[in-house]
Amino acid sequence: MALVFRQRSILPGFGISMGITLFYLALIVLIPLSAVFLKTASLSWHEFWSLATEPRALASYRLSFGASLVSALLNLVFGVLVAWVLVRYSFPGKRVLDSLVDLPFALPTSVAGISLTALYSRNGWLGRPLEAIGIEAAYSRLGIVIALTFVGLPFVVRTVQPVLEEMDREMEEAAASLGAGRRQIFTRVILPTILPAVLTGFAMALSRAVGEYGSVIFISGNMPMRTEITPLLIVTKLEQYNYAGAMAIAVVMLVTSFLMLLVINMLQRWCSKRSGG
């Protein structure tokens, strides 16, 4: 295959870097994922469809994607808020707060799961007052959303923070001097600048939430049709050595996640174009 670039580029070695990149991506991402598709190729369409759309699987998709969406939206709103506070204000303990944001990254998911369960179960610190007002936090869908919000917290904060730091304050001041009110400054000046980063963070938090397993299985109760997330359903089917069923559901998850990311990516590009940069 002839190289497209014939002229001397400043950075040498395009051919070999491209080769290594493709090899690496293929090995780590493409080949394992294609194995999933190949396994399901042995099923007929009808079999595949019935395995992928059985009621238990459908309930788990609704739960997985629904809870992930809710938690990612929560993280979107509060993530921007946290990033704003960390960038625009200075207060004692700011560095500590900054490092705390990274805690969900560093914590093993099972530790997160156990801590959240202990906190929100009927006898836990937060669980007891919540139970008193009739809200069951652990072993319910609410618990799943809580766990997913916890693990997705750093994403939006960390993508928005650098953009906010780099932002030119002069633009806001200029807008103010031209007579813009505070809301207008936010919606016309600040928001368009940070929107691509916010969407990136949202996409990452959403993807993390959809794939989350370790922290959710402790707090969710794992009841089929009610609080069973799709990754757990896949594992249960594997434990029963029902490879075909597990792969069918895995393919559905894969394709849906890919489509979600594609849509968010396109949205991002559209926003960038609109704000001109």
Binding site: P55, Y139, G221, M223, P224, M225, R226, E239, Q240
Partner: protein, 340 residues
């Protein structure tokens, strides 16, 4: 300059070589793997410590026994797929038969090689309910009532779950004079009351006791008694049904693996240790019914009298029972639908 570099190179490589040889020659303690079913963690912890001590005293050999726990069916399939177990201690004979037939890791007559059909202890299946038995659960009939939530593990992966299922089926057969259709209906209705299936006996206990899900747990007698000891009599209590099944969890040496790893002698000694007085005492302490009659008499007080039937009497043995009920497409697959 050159000789200096060469000398350094030689010195370095000989050091590496010496360390490697020393590393290969060093024999750490002899280790082998015991693949077991789910509720035996505490039991084997004590057995392994006692066995290691005995072995050290008798032969001066340091032994480390590694454990793996999980639902019996799941564990059997792991061994078939290549998990290198020197010893298997599973919940039912069929799972070890499957290893013998499919992976041919041990001879088909493995069960006759040790006393009592290779079962150092037996057990049965009973109920665990909340303190005060608020839902008044006395027998299998109460499990089919609407509004009762039953916790049992998954028959596709767990041994306890399969014993449970057969005990319920056996009870229904007896009650309905051998009517198979009514028995099937009975078990179907029980499973409709099951909100979640854990993959192993211990998982089911955790769900019932720690997560507080369910009104009644159907599980191993040893697991129920252990739960009462751990959680306290003020939280849970045991209910013995009018009829249950004689459960015989066997142990076996996995010939191909021990020959490959050179652990035959120590693994055989380990299995024989389970039948020794010390091993039987440990079993009794952990709420298993010891096979040895003397030890059995000593621990009789902690076990209730239960009316038992055996799987051979009612179902014609495990091969038939597994193929009819638990194989893919069998009766369990046909009747089970997740409770809404």
């Amino acid at each position: 300059m050159w000789p200096g570099k060469l000398v350094r190179l030689l010195a370095f490589s000989s050091l590496i070589l010496a360390l490697t040889v020393a590393g290969i020659a060093y024999e750490g303690p002899l280790a082998f793997l015991n693949v077991s079913y789910d509720p035996t963690r505490e039991f084997y912890q004590e057995i392994n410590a006692a066995f290691a001590k005995r072995r050290l005293e008798k032969t001066g050999q340091t032994v480390v026994v590694k454990m793996s726990h999980g639902g019996s069916g799941k564990q059997a399939r792991a061994v078939i797929d290549g998990l290198e177990a020197s010893v298997v201690s599973l919940a039912l004979a069929y799972d070890i038969d499957a290893i013998a037939e499919t992976a041919r890791l041990l001879p088909k007559n493995w069960q006759s090689r040790l006393p009592h059909n290779s079962c150092p202890y037996t057990s049965t299946l009973v109920f665990l309910v909340r303190k005060g038995n608020p839902k008044k659960i006395k027998d299998w009939d109460d499990l089919v009532k609407s509004g009762i939530s039953v916790i049992t593990p998954n028959p596709k992966t767990s041994g306890a779950a399969r014993w449970n299922y057969l005990a319920a089926w056996g009870y229904a057969l007896k009650k309905n004079n051998g009517d198979e259709a009514k028995a099937r209906d009975f078990v179907t209705r029980i499973f409709r009351n099951v909100p979640v299936l854990d993959s192993g006996a211990r998982g089911a206990t955790t769900t019932f006791v720690e997560r507080g899900i369910g009104d009644v747990l159907v599980n191993w007698e040893n697991e129920v008694l252990l739960a009462i000891k751990e959680v306290g009599k003020d939280k849970v209590e045991m209910v013995v049904p009018s009829l249950s099944i004689q459960a015989e969890p066997p142990v076996a040496l996995v010939d191909r693996v021990v020959d490959r790893r050179g652990t035959r002698a120590v693994a055989q000694a380990y299995l024989e240790f389970l039948y020794s007085i010390e091993g039987q005492e440990i079993a009794g302490r952990h709420y298993f019914r010891p096979g040895n009659p003397q030890v059995q008499a000593r621990y009789a007080a902690r076990f209730c009298r239960v009316n038992l039937f055996t799987i051979d009497e009612v179902f014609g043995g495990w091969q038939k029972a597994q193929k009819t009920h638990f194989a893919d497409g069998g009766i369990f697959d046909q009747i089970y639908q997740p409770a809404r």
